[in-house]
């Protein structure tokens, strides 16, 4: 879900420069209707009935005349965004209708559907540079010899740096920025399987290499969760070394698949020195799975990862211990693309002092939020709950700070190293 929101926000940023045509009276009315829907939704659904101390009625009365007079879509969005900004909270935003179109048609020809396929690359932003961090075995990228640590400079002739700089400037230092920037790069590589994408890389010898790559279907198997569009889920669990258990999955979906992988790996790892859960790039998913995953690592009943606060209700993320759990050291790997349920799990296990967290600070995007369409065609994101980790801190806007911060470097990636994983392995062996 976070993946989608990040994608939409990233696309939204691209749409801001579009010229704004004049509005018809009907369009003006739709903007007024949208304004009212946004205002009422926040009033009725925000977890805090006091709306963070904001006089919401006064905000309405002040801005209503301005929305009625708004002469362009952008002006209307700016007014609704200004209303939401008065809350001084994240996960409230207006997504231009163009953003949805942007996601569905990547270029002016309108041919691309970003969910069709990709060349088999995963990417992370390191100091503003888009570096290859994973090449799917057997993928078009692997066949053409793309290596870890290569920097992506251009995609289909378009230089990456200016676009990334634009996104970064718009988002500032917000932790969610890394997730959005990363998704914006990945989405530019996505498209129909029967088409190719031309990517210019900076290889390991600092030479520019342009490759035309085919696309393959997304890694994993298709899964459908509620109203979300189809997603592709994968899980990779094995013994990393003879004495370390390892599991890596791309989203918190398919609980039965994750359970089966955990059951097998934990059973085979009775004598292991440690266990690693790799949540790098995991944008979250079904929140309840954080509880189920935690249960593999404790025998103690009554533990709680944190509490979700809705209006008039709260839900504790209780841990239900599994039979014969793994008692040894547990390392959790995270990065700026680990969001939502990943943060709930990593932050909670860290607070309970049951795990040591490695990597870089998480996306700080842990508010349960929803997306809805407004009468004027724009999207509206709103949070419905606050989440406080067991240590008493909100994860939203703060994220999970690793016990040991380990950043990726181009040099280490080119050497085939994974410094975050290496640090976790070293820590386990030192226990």
């Amino acid at each position: 879900m976070r993946l989608s929101s990040g994608a939409i926000l990233a696309a939204a940023l691209c749409g801001w420069s579009l010229a704004q045509p004049a509005l018809t009276p009907a369009e003006r009315q739709l903007n007024v209707d949208s304004f009212e829907q946004v205002w009422k939704t926040v009033r009725d659904k925000h977890w805090d009935p006091k709306l963070n101390g904001v006089d919401w009625q006064a905000v309405h009365d002040e801005l209503r005349p301005r929305i009625e007079a708004a002469a362009s879509m952008q002006e209307a969005r700016d007014i609704m965004s200004e209303m939401l900004k008065r809350l001084k909270q994240t996960h409230f935003g207006i997504v231009p209708g163009e953003a949805y179109k942007e996601l569905k048609q990547k270029d002016d020809n309108g041919k691309s559907n970003p969910s069709d396929g990709d060349p088999g690359l995963d990417v992370r932003l390191v100091d503003g540079h888009a570096l290859v961090t994973f090449v799917t075995p057997g993928s078009p990228a692997a066949a053409k010899g793309v290596k870890l640590g290569w920097e992506i400079l251009r995609i289909d002739g378009k230089e990456l740096a200016p676009g990334l700089a634009k996104v970064r400037a718009a988002l500032g230092s917000a932790m969610l920025a890394e997730l959005i920037e990363t998704r914006s790069v990945i989405e530019r590589m996505e498209g129909p399987i029967d088409e190719t994408v031309e990517i210019e890389f900076l290889d390991g010898n600092d030479r520019k290499v342009t490759l035309t790559l085919g696309r393959t279907g997304p890694r994993g198997t298709e899964t459908v969760f509620g109203s979300l569009p189809p997603l592709h889920f994968w899980v990779d669990a094995h013994k990393l070394q003879p004495d370390i258990g390892y599991i890596h999955f791309n989203m918190f979906f398919e609980p039965e698949a994750v359970e089966a992988a955990m059951k097998k790996t934990v059973a085979e790892c009775r004598d292991c020195k440690g266990f690693i859960i790799d949540l790098r790039g995991n944008p979250g998913g079904v929140g309840g799975m954080a509880m189920g995953l935690a249960g593999w690592f404790t025998r103690q009943s009554g533990l709680v990862l944190g509490t979700m606060y809705l209006r008039g209700a709260s839900i504790k993320f209780a841990v239900f211990p599994r039979p014969n759990p793994f008692d040894g050291p547990l390392a959790i790997l995270v990065d700026g693309c680990s969001a939502s349920t990943s943060e709930i799990f990593a932050g909670g296990m860290q607070d309970l002092k049951r795990a040591h967290v490695f990597g870089t600070r998480t996306a700080a995007a842990a508010l349960p939020s929803m997306f809805t369409k407004l009468p004027n065609g724009d999207g509206f994101q709103y949070a419905i709950a606050n989440y406080i980790s067991e240590g008493g801190k909100p994860l939203e806007g703060i994220g999970v700070t690793p016990d040991r911060e380990v950043k990726l470097t181009r040099h280490q990636l080119l050497e085939g190293q994974d410094p975050v994983l290496d640090a976790a392995v070293s820590w386990i062996h030192g226990q």
Binding site: F225, G226, F253, P255, E259, G288, G292, S301, R311
Partner: protein, 253 residues
């Protein structure tokens, strides 16, 4: 069978809070036992209930706001055995049950959970077959507390206090005598949740009027359960109510 089955299903999820009308003076209200006994009478009578010794109910489970749908099968047998399996597709199966001694819930999403204390007492109450006939044994107190409106119709609000755990309030339509709403505080390690459930679409099954639609709300989530079929007094496999190994392992601890 049990009208208190409502409690069991709301344990899975979902709060439309209807405003209470002004409570009348207690003297004006019928006694709780009159209302509860009338319910048994209007739904088929004691004999109709006692004719049955087990029940299989099948239906659907839906959280429309999230686009989540699933199927549900529930087995219940005298005196307090139960097993319910809700298949939520990609979320997996949520199973819960009891052999009359051990009360549990199991899902891939959250893991195995042994119900204890007040949560166990609540599950035991919900799992009692023909609880309608045994309310005098199951609750230490029952009193009529007022008149409420549900769907524009008056209903008598009856507060039932079990030996352990918080009271349950059930509302019985003034005219038909049918239970139309239930409010309870769900107990679990995830905290206490107020649950409001509404029972509609009463139709006769095995000689007893049963609600076929239950709409529950809890923590901002709304859940609709629709029962498509009820089967009574069939040979339910002996191991249906058996405690799963994952739960047995927790019991041994």
């Amino acid at each position: 069978m049990s009208r208190f089955y409502v409690e069991k299903n709301i344990a899975i999820g979902a709060a439309i809070v209807l405003s209470l009308s002004l409570a009348r003076a207690a003297d004006d209200l019928p006694k709780a036992e009159t209302i509860l006994d009338k319910y048994v009478e209007v739904t088929g009578g004691k004999a109709a209930y006692e004719k049955h010794h087990n029940e299989i109910a099948k239906g659907t489970f839906e959280m429309a706001a999230m686009g989540i749908k699933g199927s549900l099968t529930s087995y219940r047998a005298e005196p307090d055995k139960s097993y319910t399996e809700t298949d939520l597709g990609s979320i997996g199966k949520v199973r819960e049950g009891s052999d009359g001694k051990v009360f549990w819930q199991l899902s891939a999403m959250m893991g195995p959970h042994l119900r204890e204390g007040s949560e166990k007492a609540q599950a035991q109450l919900a799992g009692t077959f023909n609880a309608e006939l045994r309310w005098r044994d199951l609750f230490k107190d029952a009193k009529t507390v007022g008149v409420e409106q549900v769907d524009g119709k008056d209903c008598y609000s009856v507060q039932l206090t079990p030996a352990e755990g918080s009271p349950i309030t059930q509302c019985y339509d003034k005219e038909s005598g049918l239970m139309v709403k239930q409010t309870m505080t769900l107990q679990s390690p995830m905290g206490e949740q107020t649950v409001n459930s509404f029972a509609t679409d009463y139709r006769k099954e095995g000689g007893v009027l049963m609600p076929h639609k239950l709409k529950s709300s809890v923590a901002g989530q709304e859940i609709a359960i629709t029962f498509d079929s009820f089967t009574f007094d069939t040979d339910i496999a002996a191991d249906t109510f058996a405690v799963p190994d994952e739960i047995k392992a927790l019991v041994k601890k």
